[in-house]
Subunit: 104 residues, 2 copies
Amino acid sequence: MDEVFKALADASRRSLLDRLHAHNGQTLNELCDGLAMTRQAVTKHLAILEAANLVTTFRKGREKLHYLNPVPIHQIGERWIKKFERGKLTALSELKRQLEKRDE
Amino acid sequence: MDEVFKALADASRRSLLDRLHAHNGQTLNELCDGLAMTRQAVTKHLAILEAANLVTTFRKGREKLHYLNPVPIHQIGERWIKKFERGKLTALSELKRQLEKRDE
DNA sequence: TTGACATGCAACCATTTGGTTGCCTATTAT
DNA sequence: ATAATAGGCAACCAAATGGTTGCATGTCAA
């Protein structure tokens, strides 16, 4: 879980996921296209995404194909975000109450 | 959005949010309790959470009360995670298809 | 077979990050 | 008044991060 959060913390990596979401199964060079980064930088980002299981790859000849794995993202939603949604209204009303009696 | 992702990337910060979720409106010292960190380290984490608008604070005498703001977390769920859930089944089946024909 | 193409590996670098220590200020209680 | 309590500020530090360059390897096409 921690690896996933860390992987998602970087905007370049999130945009790589966006690109795969738009067009799955791209090669490294395709993913580099139009980015203001060297290929090696992209390789490192992809390695981090792969380690977090957000991207799965396999080779096809001399190319490496990258596939988005949306499962960990889904798990963040289920296991983490939903927990805070439950308490949402309570938390906000509690905060409001406190803010209102601030000058007592 | 980027600030929120970055703030959530650290396990100590996520656990501070957990603590506030369990018991909202704690003081700095209460939040420090039982953590293997100095008060100043916790202060820094809380400042980052506050900058990302995940925590709201106000002072009550010499104490500073910390309140969880679940809204940004909810927005991550709505604006970011849901986008990837839509393509989930397609992405996985596409991946499976590729994996199966890997040895062609 | 030889050149071009796709990717991998490793060393290096600047900046950011997560933490520390030491001291200062403000508020409360005795 | 004064001591204890709650928190703030700043300098410093080691390690992690995000990036680079240079070179090596594996695969395809002419």
